[in-house]
């Protein structure tokens, strides 16, 4: 990595967006590389569909490109970009109800290969783990959107309660309450399934 690139990569999100607002496009590229995967993970866990999730992330980053000056340093940059992605994801969820979705997998479309980082580095990803993941994702998909949002942002994306409150424009108390209820709802959906213990 060049010295300049290293310097840039040490910059905070807020410093990068400021540089981008001053027409430093390499700063935009670093923001893209920092956020594309985590936004995809968020959108995927929210929508349950990888291709739709990638659309959302594309659109989010395009909007960032087009509307860079819309960001003001009053809020964290991550809050701003998650808000855009979250709104797009919610819109997609509403649209989904109104149209039939053709799954790419149905047409044997496999040129897009999605890498899934195996966080259980010391454990083989056996069939049980994969099945558990599917079951859990299905349970998440069945949650009402207001619960799905908070639990994905809190327990999967590991954002703070304060940040979640800023993203969703809801009070801190409401965030905590929804997280609690979302976990309880998931627990009741999964109660009949033997999940691996930690």
């Amino acid at each position: 990595m060049s010295k300049y690139a290293k310097l840039q990569s040490d910059l905070s999100d807020e410093e990068l967006i400021q540089r981008f607002q001053n027409d430093d496009y390499s700063a935009y590229e670093i923001i893209v590389s920092r956020y594309k995967d985590q936004l995809l993970n968020f959108a995927y866990r929210f929508l349950g569909n990888v291709e739709e999730a990638e659309d959302i992330v594309q659109e989010t980053l395009l909007r960032l490109y087009r509307n860079k000056h819309a960001y003001r340093q009053i809020a964290k940059f991550s809050t701003w970009i998650y808000t855009i992605a979250g709104n797009l994801a919610k819109t997609e969820l509403r649209k989904r109800k109104r149209r039939k979705v053709v799954s790419i997998s149905d047409i044997g479309f496999d040129d897009k290969e999605y890498e899934i980082e195996d966080q259980l580095a010391t454990t083989d990803k056996d069939a049980n783990t994969a099945l558990t993941e599917k079951i859990i994702q299905k349970a998440i998909d069945e949650l009402p959107p207001r619960f799905k949002q908070v639990i994905v942002l809190r327990d999967i994306q590991e954002l703070s309660y304060e940040e979640i409150g800023s993203i969703l424009h809801i009070p801190l108390g409401t965030v905590k309450s929804r997280v609690n209820r979302a976990r309880l709802k998931l627990q009741s959906k999964l109660k009949d399934i033997k999940l691996p213990a930690f």
Partner: protein, 223 residues
Amino acid sequence: MKECDDYNKLFSDYLEKTLDEKNRQSLQKHLASCAACKAKIDDLRNIKHILSDLPRIKTSRYFDQVLYSRIRQEKRAKQTQRWIFPFFELNWKTTVYAVAAVALVFLGAFWQRLSYTSMNNQLRINQIAVEQVLQGEMNYIDPGYMIFVRVDSAKSTYRIINYTTLDYAETMKAFQNTRATSTVYSDESELPNLKEAPQNEGVLVLKEKQSERQQIKNAEYNF
């Protein structure tokens, strides 16, 4: 005295270790004597761990390519607008005549090679699979590129690509698998000689904008 429902509301803060001391002690005392709540909080703890350990998905390998291609296209579109607009303001009549003249020259140049048939109501426009496109080098249909598709026609049915290039995944979702085979060319220069196309095959040329679309059929073939 609190009931289990009241204690339920404290579970999240308890698990997050953000519960105040008084409530924490009260809850711990309750958990020591309530098997149901104990089981529930163990499940919640378990779910929290499972969620945080779910595999992280990464973007596809063409993600950056697609994104930056779309950005380039937007830049080009803006530059074109800036070029046209000032000229338009200066002399709109000249602009209109110039554009019309260019269009006529373009059409005239292709007229001898291509026969043009307007779409008729009998054509059923279906969507075709583009696996061949995507398995090859060209995996994204950039706006403004011409896509030439050779299809097998069946009973006077054309199959064409219809795409909105600003939304790659949306476009791809629109394709359904068909029995039609297709050959895709990414550049106009690769367009084969139409007369050499086997019978019952058509060559279709499409551009992104509806106004620019042409359905070009070799007049010698019956469809």
